[in-house]
């Protein structure tokens, strides 16, 4: 049983790896690099949460 599971595992891994790479290139080509890397640290803390001492 485990041998079959291991073989299925290889197939699933290969499929998911391919999907990730596909989705990755898809994403990279449909968005600007500035948009993708626009996350900033501490932004949400500064904007949404009021900072009181």
């Amino acid at each position: 049983m485990w041998i079959i599971i291991a073989n299925i595992g290889w197939a699933v891994s290969a499929a998911l790896a391919a999907w990730m790479v596909y989705d990755w290139f898809q994403t990279d080509s449909s968005y600007a690099e500035e948009t993708l890397t626009s996350s900033r640290e501490g932004e949400i803390e500064a904007v949404q949460e009021k900072h009181k001492v």
């Binding site: 291991a6 948009t35 501490g42």
Partner: protein, 466 residues
């Protein structure tokens, strides 16, 4: 000035998604750590005997309680992905932050590798004839790639899955504990005959010290809860709550695990096996318990690997965001809102090590990175309190008895360095040299690409003394 303060009607930004609650924080922390109960802690018995394993279970528990308290205070104040990395950046300085991020990436990637190997080993021990290297590696690849895809797809689902399998693995320990009639010694459990005055501390007290090395494995990774800081809905509440609850869960789990395993397995075997709980289930003679512990061992390994992928990717992502590494890594997936490039980038590295490295070495690297990290934390909290004394900034949680936890933590770290030295000295020195080389590289070369003032993103006043 930092861009953070000019936000508002700024162009649309893609950031990580704030969807997690305290239960997810618990699942992330305990999920990573619980595998330590299923494998690893028992090597403490190897280094010092069964009694040593119990002593360090509690003493190292104290170390981690200090870690959790300190961490909760700093993290509930510095809520950013990368956790201790962002703390180091705001409190100690950029080079320290770079090192902390490396500790994190290493500790978690190597832990992920160990988990994948553990799952494959467990299955192999039951698979029988015909289960060759190809199949063994198939299991490793499945664990790493499937979990990476889960992480890629979104953090909420990732940690929901972790919550379920972690809870299962934890309940399995409790079921095992109550099935062996812990209230009546002699029926199933024979602690008095397994651990005798003769063999309790076979190496004497030096063995207890040496056992600190593996004692770390009882709890290693609980500090990973902070990596979720940018994704929890209310960091200042959920992080201390989830971390402390996780620590209590683990202290109970570790004590039960020791009690059952030490009462069922001869200490030399305990120090030798890779699956103490599974073996304990096996010697009860109950097929149900054996199957339960088999399943739970695998699930604990999966939960841990899952959490590790999450944390390592967050730390790597933060490095890119501050230009400590190329900014390319700091991309967030516009749809899934995950640090997708970091997740994918770490997959081949994890696979390579899981296929070729040995388990003991991967674990030791992970432990060592962890201890370097805790040493930093003990100094960090003292600097934090000095630069921003209580009352100058809003803290989500303030830990009691300062500076006692910091001092306790520091002393225990020094002891642990010595413990690793006993038996693994050369490897320890080699790894620290690696960190030195990386530090020199960063300080004298890479740092030129980093924007100075932008690194400080918290809306705090100027630190005292600058």
């Amino acid at each position: 000035m930092a861009k953070a303060t000019t936000a508002g009607p700024a162009p649309q930004r893609v950031s990580l998604l704030r969807v997690l609650g305290p239960a997810h924080v618990w699942a992330l922390g305990v999920g990573i750590v619980l595998v330590g109960e299923y494998t690893g802690w028992n090597f403490a018995a190897d280094k010092g005997g069964a009694l040593a394993a119990l002593i360090i279970c509690w003493v190292v528990g104290l170390l981690y309680t200090s870690v959790a308290m300190i961490d909760s205070e700093v993290t509930s104040t510095v809520a950013a992905a990368g956790g201790q990395y962002a703390q180091a950046k705001h409190i100690v300085g950029p080079l320290m932050a770079f090192n902390v991020a490396l500790y994190l990436v290493f500790a978690y990637t190597m832990l992920e590798v160990s988990n994948a190997i553990l799952v494959a080993d467990t299955i192999k021990s039951y698979a029988g004839e015909g289960f060759g290297d190809w199949h063994y590696r198939g299991v490793i690849a499945t664990v790493i790639v499937v979990l990476a895809a889960l992480n890629y797809r979104g953090v909420l689902m990732t940690l929901n899955v972790n919550f379920v399998i972690t809870a299962f693995a934890y309940l399995a320990i409790i079921v095992l504990f109550f099935s062996v009639q812990p209230w009546s010694q002699g029926t199933v459990l024979k602690l008095g005959e397994m651990v005798t005055p003769d063999n309790a501390l076979p190496y004497g007290w030096i063995g207890v010290i040496a056992a600190f090395h593996w004692g770390i494995w009882y709890y290693l990774g609980i500090e990973g809860t902070t990596q979720a800081a940018e994704e929890v809905r209310s960091p200042s509440r959920a992080l201390p709550y989830g971390t402390m609850a996780g620590m209590i869960t683990l202290l109970i789990g570790a004590s039960l695990t020791w009690y059952v395993c030490a009462s069922l397995l001869p200490w030399q075997y305990l120090g030798f096996t890779y699956f103490p709980l599974l073996d304990a289930g096996k010697v009860t003679g109950s097929p149900f318990l054996e199957t339960l512990m088999f399943t739970a061992t695998i699930l604990a390994g999966i939960a841990s690997a899952n959490g590790c992928i999450n944390d390592a990717a967050r730390a790597f992502f933060s490095l890119g965001r501050d230009r400590y590494l190329p900014t390319w890594f700091s991309a967030v997936h516009p749809k899934y809102r995950t640090p997708y490039r970091s997740i994918v980038f770490l997959v081949p590295i994890a696979l390579a090590f899981a296929f070729i490295a040995n388990l003991g070495q991967a674990i030791t690297f992970s432990i060592l990175s962890g201890v370097l990290h805790y040493t930093f934390m003990s100094v960090n909290i003292i600097m934090f309190r000095n630069k921003w004394p209580l009352g100058t900034i809003r803290r989500g949680y303030t830990h009691p008895f300062h500076p006692i936890p910091a001092v306790v933590l520091f002393i225990l770290c020094v002891v642990t360095f010595f413990a690793i030295f006993l038996g693994y000295g050369a490897q320890l020195t080699a790894m620290v040299i690696f960190y030195i080389i990386m530090s020199l590289w960063f300080h004298f070369y890479r740092y030129q690409y980093v924007r100075r003032g932008d690194q400080f993103t918290m809306p705090w006043p100027k630190p005292k003394g600058y």
